[in-house]
C-alpha cells in the first residue's frame, strides 16, 4: 500500500507546496486583511470625527455672533454629514484600480442630534463656557477685575457697616416708638370718631326731647280742649276759633309720629355710638399694650449697646455723629415716653366700669325708645351719656392738634423745599427723557410657548427619549455612553445642589432667594411707601395752606408710612450684612484649597449675571453705545424693521431678566423701584454723616411730634437723594454714581440742592442737547455728529475708567449687582433663553427655536468594504463584504 504512494512521486512537490504555500498565503492574506481592517477602522473613525466636526462648524452664525451660543441649526443634519464623509472617502474622486484603496461605502448611517439649547443644563454650560472662554475682551476683563472690584466693594461696605448697624439700632428704637405713636394716633382717631358720633347723639337727643316736648304740648292742648268741651251741655264742638277736637287729635298723632321718628333716629345713633365706644376701646387697649411693650423692650439697653458698638467706628467724625445721634434718640425717647405716659394716664381713666355703665345705659335707652312705638305712655325725655369720654376726647384732641400745628408750622418750609425739589426734578424729566420709553407687551400665548418657559430637564430626559425612540436591540455599544452621560449629569446636579444649599444656608431661608421673596417684597413695599411719601410732600408744596387744615390725619398717615419704611430699612440692613458675607465668601474662594463645587456655583452666578448685563440691552442703552461682539442691542436692520407686536420687547431686555413680566413698562418700573431701594441703602452713610442734618434732627427730637418729622426729614432726604441718583442712572447712556456715598447732593443749607439741580441741568443738556437739535432739524447726520460728540467727550484714560469703575456704578452695573444678589441663576437662565429665542426670531429667523438647536450629534454607521485578498470566509458573516461598526459622539 505504501509503495502505491511512493511510486507516484511526480507532482508531490507541487502538491506539497500548494498545500503549504496556499495555507501560508491564506494566513498572510488574513493577517494583511486583519491589519487593513484595524487601520481602516481607525481611519474611518477619524473621518467620521472630521465630518462630525465639519457639521459642528455649520453652527448658527447669528446665534453665535449675537449671543455667543453654539448650536446646530434645525436644517443642518445627515445630508451635511454624508457630504463631508463621502468627500473624505474619495467617493467623488476618479477611481483607477489600486490607486484608491478607500473602498469604504458608508451604508446605514444613523444621525441623531442630541441635547438642545432648550435644556437647562446644556444652556447653562454654554453660557458659562462662553463667559469663561469665548467672551469678548471687555467681558473677559470684567471677569478678571471682578474679584478686585468685589474686594474694593467689601472694603467700602465694611467701612459703612458700623453706621448701618447704628442706623439699624436706631430704627429698632424708632420702630418701637413709632408703633406706640401709631397706636396713639389710632386711639386719638377713634376718639375723634367717638366725639363726632357723640355730637350726633347729643343732637339726636335734643331733637328727640324737642319732639317729646311738642308731643306733651299737643296732648295737653287736647286734654284742655276736651275738659272745656265737657262743660258744654250740648257737647257740640266749638268752631269759634277753628279748633276742633279732631284737629287736635290729628295734631297729637302727628307729634307722636315725630317722636317715634326721632326715637328711631336716636336709636340708630345710639347703635353707632355703642360701636364707636367699642372701637375706641379696642384702640385704647392696643395702645396700652403697645406702650407696655415699649416700656418692656429694654430700649435703654439697646441704645447703650449701640453706643458701645459705635465706638468701634474708625472714622472719628462718623463715630461722634453716631454717638450724638444715639444721644438725641435717647433724649427724645425719654421725652416721648413721658408724653406717652401722660396719654396713658388719660386713657386709663376710661375704666372698664365706665365703659360698661355707659353701654348699659345706652342699651337701656335703646330698649326704652323701642317701646315708644308700641305704647305712647312710654314716652319720656332721655338724658345725655358719655361726659367722661367727651372731656378726654376734647382735651386730648385739642392738645394734639395744637402740637401738630405748631410743629408743622416750623417744619412746613423745610418740607416744602423737598416738595419743590421733587417737582423740579420731575420737571426736568418731562418729555420722556427719564420716563419709561419702551412699552411693548408680549402676547401671553406666544410667551408661554418659548423654550425658556418649557425648561425640559437635562440629559437624563434626552437619554430616556432616545431609548424610547430606538430599539435597544439594534443599538450598538450604547451602554458605556449612557453610563458616562449619567455620571456627568449626576456631577452637574451635585454641583448645582451644593451651591443652592450653601446659598440657602447663607441667606437664612431658602425662600428668601426665590422670586417674590421677603426681601423683594420689602423693597417693593419701601418703594411704594416712598412713592406715597413723595406724593405727600408734593401735595404739601402744591397747597400748603389747604394741607395744613387737615394735617392731623396726613401727619399720622405719614407716620404710618414711616413705620413701613423703617421696617424695610431694618430688613435692608439684615440683607446687606448677608450680601457682604456672600461677597466675602466669593473672595475667600480664590484659593485652590476651597471646594471646587462651591466655587463653580458662585462663578456660575457671576457668569450668568455678567452675561445678562453685558449681552442684553437695557433702557439706558442708547444709539451711541458701542455694540459689543455679542449683544442684543437692536442692530441697524432691526431698528428699521417693525418689531412684531407682542413678540419681543422694544429694548428693556435686562429689565425683563430681573422682573420677568410680559409687560415691558411694568418690568422697568419693578427694576426702577428695586434699584431705588438699593440706592436708598447705599446713600445712608452720606445722609447720616451730614452734620447740619443731624443738628436739625437733634433739635426736632426734643418733642414727640418732632421726632416723627425728624425721621420723615431724614427719609425725605434719602428719598430725594436716591431719586436724583436714579435720574442720573436712567438717562440714555446715563451716568454713574458712587457705590457708597459719603457726601450727598442735598443739604439743608440750600447749596447742595442748587448744585445738584445745576448738575442735572448740565447732564440733561449734554445728553440730550445734540439729539434734540438733530431731532428738530430732522437731519440724521447731525444726530450722528451729536453721538460722536458725546462719545468723544466721554473718552477717558484706561486708568481713569478703571479707578472710576471700582467706585462708581452705572445703571448696568447696578443691574449686575442686583441680578447677582437677588436672582436665582436658574431663573435668569430661563429668561435669557426666552430673550434669545425672541431676538433671534425678530432678527429674521422667524422659525428659530432653541428646542431645535442641538449641541451634540451622534453618528452610528456600519460601512462595508470588500477584501482584496483571498481570506477564509464564513457564509453569512463576511462572505461578500466586511463590516465596520462605528459609534461617534461629538458636540460643543
Amino acid at each position: 500500500m505504501l509503495n502505491l504512494f511512493l511510486k507516484r512521486q511526480r507532482g508531490v512537490i507541487t502538491v506539497m507546496l500548494s498545500i503549504v504555500l496556499i495555507a501560508a498565503l491564506s494566513i498572510n492574506a488574513t493577517f494583511m486583511e486583519t491589519a487593513r481592517y484595524r487601520s481602516l477602522t481607525m481611519l474611518y473613525k477619524e473621518m467620521v470625527d472630521s465630518a462630525s466636526f465639519s457639521v459642528l462648524s455649520q453652527y448658527d452664525r447669528e446665534l453665535f455672533k449675537n449671543y455667543g451660543l453654539l448650536g446646530i441649526p434645525a436644517d443642518t443634519g445627515k445630508d451635511e454629514l454624508l457630504r463631508y464623509l463621502n468627500a473624505n472617502l474619495n467617493q467623488d474622486v476618479d477611481r483607477t484600480g489600486i490607486e484608491n484603496m478607500l473602498s469604504l461605502s458608508p451604508d446605514s448611517v444613523e444621525f441623531d442630534k442630541l441635547y438642545t439649547l432648550a435644556q437647562s443644563e446644556v444652556f447653562k454650560e454654554q453660557i458659562n463656557e462662553f463667559c469663561a472662554f469665548r467672551a469678548p475682551v471687555t467681558m473677559l476683563n470684567n471677569t478678571l477685575d471682578i474679584e478686585e472690584t468685589m474686594e474694593a466693594l467689601v472694603e467700602e461696605l465694611t467701612k459703612a457697616l458700623p453706621m448701618l448697624e447704628v442706623f439699624a439700632g436706631i430704627t429698632d428704637v424708632l420702630n418701637n416708638l413709632l408703633d406706640a405713636i401709631g397706636k396713639l394716633g389710632e386711639c386719638g382717631q377713634s376718639m375723634f370718631d367717638l366725639d363726632a358720633v357723640n355730637n350726633e347723639y347729643g343732637n339726636a337727643v335734643d331733637a328727640y326731647n324737642d319732639a317729646v316736648e311738642a308731643y306733651d304740648a299737643a296732648v295737653e292742648e287736647l286734654e284742655n280742649f276736651q275738659d272745656a268741651d265737657t262743660e258744654d251741655e250740648d257737647g257740640s264742638t266749638s268752631q269759634s276759633d277753628g279748633v276742633t277736637e279732631e284737629s287736635l287729635k290729628e295734631q297729637v298723632e302727628q307729634a307722636y309720629d315725630a317722636v317715634v321718628d326721632r326715637a328711631e333716629a336716636l336709636r340708630s345713633t345710639i347703635t353707632n355710638l355703642t360701636g364707636a365706644i367699642e372701637n375706641y376701646w379696642e384702640a385704647k387697649e392696643a395702645f396700652i399694650e403697645s406702650y407696655g411693650n415699649l416700656l418692656g423692650a429694654g430700649i435703654d439697653t439697646v441704645l447703650e449697646e449701640g453706643k458701645a458698638e459705635v465706638s468701634g467706628i474708625e472714622d472719628e467724625k462718623q463715630r461722634e455723629q453716631a454717638k450724638d445721634l444715639l444721644e438725641y434718640m435717647k433724649g427724645s425717647y425719654e421725652e416721648s415716653t413721658g408724653l406717652l405716659e401722660d396719654f396713658n394716664q388719660y386713657v386709663e381713666k376710661t375704666t372698664e366700669d365706665l365703659k360698661e355703665s355707659a353701654i348699659e345705659s345706652l342699651e337701656e335707652q335703646h330698649e326704652a325708645l323701642a317701646a315708644i312705638g308700641e305704647s305712647p305712655e312710654e314716652i319720656e325725655p332721655v338724658r345725655l351719656n358719655l361726659g367722661f369720654a367727651l372731656s378726654i376726647v376734647v382735651e386730648f384732641s385739642m392738645t394734639t392738634i395744637q402740637a401738630f400745628v405748631e410743629a408743622l408750622e416750623e417744619l412746613g418750609e423745610m418740607l416744602k423745599t423737598f416738595g419743590v425739589v421733587f417737582d423740579l426734578v420731575s420737571l426736568m424729566t418731562t418729555g420722556g427723557k427719564a420716563d419709561v420709553r419702551f412699552n411693548n407687551m408680549l402676547d401671553e400665548g406666544y410667551y408661554n410657548a418659548l423654550s425658556g418657559m418649557q425648561r425640559p430637564g437635562g440629559g437624563m430626559e434626552t437619554i430616556q427619549t432616545y431609548y424610547d425612540n430606538h430599539d435597544p436591540n439594534t443599538m450598538l455599544t450604547i451602554s458605556n455612553d449612557q453610563a458616562l452621560k449619567v455620571e456627568q449629569l449626576n456631577d452637574a446636579r451635585g454641583i448645582t445642589q451644593t451651591g443652592d444649599e450653601l446659598i440657602d444656608y447663607m441667606s437664612g431661608s431658602p425662600q428668601d432667594w426665590e422670586e417674590n421673596n421677603v426681601f423683594q417684597q420689602a423693597m417693593e413695599n419701601m418703594s411704594y411707601s416712598s412713592e406715597q411719601l413723595k406724593a405727600d410732600l408734593r401735595s404739601l408744596n402744591g397747597s400748603w395752606t389747604t394741607a395744613l387744615e387737615s394735617l392731623l390725619l396726613p401727619g399720622l398717615y405719614l407716620a404710618q408710612q414711616m413705620r413701613n419704611i423703617i421696617n424695610v430699612l431694618v430688613s435692608l440692613h439684615d440683607f446687606f450684612v448677608r450680601a457682604i458675607e456672600l461677597v466675602k465668601a466669593f473672595i475667600n474662594l480664590g484659593g485652590p484649597s476651597k471646594a471646587e463645587t462651591f466655587q463653580q456655583i458662585v462663578f456660575q452666578r457671576f457668569y450668568v449675571s455678567m452675561y445678562a448685563s453685558e449681552m442684553f440691552s437695557n433702557r439706558t442703552t442708547g444709539s451711541g453705545s458701542k455694540r459689543m461682539n455679542g449683544s442684543s442691542l437692536p442692530t441697524a436692520n432691526s431698528v428699521t424693521t417693525l418689531i412684531p407686536e407682542g413678540q419681543c420687547f422694544d429694548q428693556a431686555d435686562l429689565e425683563y431678566i430681573y422682573a420677568g413680566g410680559t409687560n415691558e413698562i411694568k418690568n422697568q418700573e419693578v427694576v426702577f423701584n428695586a434699584m431705588f431701594a438699593l440706592r436708598v441703602l447705599c446713600n445712608i452713610p452720606a445722609i447720616l454723616s451730614d452734620q447740619t442734618l443731624m443738628e436739625v434732627v437733634s433739635g426736632l427730637s426734643a418733642t414727640i411730634i418732632g421726632i416723627i418729622f425728624a425721621v420723615i426729614l431724614v427719609v425725605a432726604i434719602l428719598m430725594v437723594e436716591a431719586y436724583t441718583d436714579m435720574l442720573f442712572l436712567v438717562f440714555e447712556d446715563g451716568g454713574k454714581v458712587d457705590i457708597i456715598k459719603f457726601t450727598g447732593y442735598y443739604n439743608l443749607e440750600g447749596e447742595g440742592i442748587d448744585d445738584a439741580m445745576d448738575h442735572l441741568e448740565n447732564m440733561a443738556k449734554d445728553k440730550f442737547g445734540p439729539y434734540q437739535e438733530a431731532m428738530q432739524s430732522g437731519k440724521s447726520s447731525e444726530t450722528q455728529q451729536g453721538t460722536e460728540k458725546i462719545e468723544k467727550k466721554e473718552e477717558k484714560s484706561f486708568d481713569q475708567k478703571y479707578a472710576e469703575g471700582l467706585l462708581k456704578w452705572s445703571y448696568k452695573d447696578h443691574m449686575f449687582f442686583m441680578l447677582e444678589l437677588f436672582k436665582g441663576s436658574d431663573v435668569m437662565y430661563g429668561r435669557i433663553a426666552n430673550l434669545t429665542e425672541m431676538r433671534m426670531r425678530q432678527d429674521g429667523n422667524s422659525s428659530f427655536s432653541l428646542g431645535e438647536t442641538a449641541t451634540y450629534i451622534r453618528v452610528e454607521s456600519e460601512p462595508t468594504y470588500t477584501p482584496l485578498l483571498p481570506i477564509p470566509s464564513y457564509p453569512g458573516l463576511n462572505s461578500s463584504k466586511i463590516k465596520i461598526s462605528n459609534l461617534h459622539y461629538c458636540g460643543y
Partner: protein
C-alpha cells in the same frame, strides 16, 4: 530507469514554478502593505490639517483688532518677521491668494501629520513618499477643500512599476 530519467529535475521545476508564484504574491503583499500604510499616513495628515485650518480660520476671522491686523500683514509680507509657523499659516490663510492658501496647507501639513513636525520628512521617507503635492486648497462655500497627490515608491518594482501615484481629498467645514 529511463522512466526515472524523464522525471529528473521535476522537483526543481515544480519548486521554481511554485516558489516564483509564491514570491510574486509575497512581493505583492509587501507592496500592498506599504501603499496602504502610506495612504493611511497621508490621509490622516490631511484630515488633521484640514481640521486645524478650518478651526484657525475662526481665530483669524475674529482677530479684528488693528494691531493684530498690522502684525499679521507684516508677518505675511516679511516672512522673516514670523514668530511661529502657526502665525505664518494664519496670516497666509487670512490675506493670501489661492497659492498662498496652498502654501499654508503645505506649512501646516507637518503639524497635522506628525506629533513632532520635524519627524514629518522622516516619516514620508519611511513610507516611500517623496513629497505630498497640494494640488489645490480652495474655499468652496463654507468648506475648505484640499486636494493632494503623492507617489509611493514600491519596495519591490513590480512589472515595471517602481512607484504608484495616489490621490486624496479632504473637505472640512470652516469655523468662521
Amino acid at each position: 530507469m529511463a522512466k526515472n530519467k524523464n522525471t529528473e529535475g521535476y522537483l526543481t521545476v515544480e519548486a521554481t514554478l511554485s516558489l516564483t508564484i509564491f514570491l510574486f504574491f509575497m512581493i505583492f503583499l509587501t507592496n500592498y502593505g506599504q501603499i496602504y500604510m502610506a495612504q493611511n499616513y497621508v490621509t490622516h495628515g490631511l484630515l488633521q490639517t484640514g481640521k486645524m485650518l478650518a478651526m484657525s480660520s475662526y481665530e483669524y476671522e475674529q482677530d479684528t483688532t488693528f494691531a493684530g491686523a498690522v502684525v499679521d500683514i507684516l508677518n505675511f509680507l516679511f516672512g522673516k518677521e514670523r514668530n511661529t509657523a502657526e502665525e505664518s499659516v494664519g496670516a497666509q490663510w487670512k490675506y493670501g491668494s489661492d497659492a498662498d492658501k496652498k502654501a499654508a496647507v503645505n506649512t501646516a501639513l507637518p503639524y497635522g501629520a506628525a506629533v513632532n513636525p520635524s519627524e514629518y520628512a522622516a516619516a514620508l521617507k519611511r513610507y516611500g513618499i517623496n513629497s505630498v503635492v497640494i494640488e489645490s486648497a480652495a474655499i468652496d462655500g463654507d468648506d475648505l477643500v484640499i486636494k493632494a497627490k503623492y507617489e509611493v515608491k514600491l519596495a519591490f518594482a513590480f512589472f515595471g512599476y517602481e512607484k504608484i501615484e495616489m490621490h486624496q481629498q479632504v473637505r472640512s467645514g470652516l469655523w468662521k
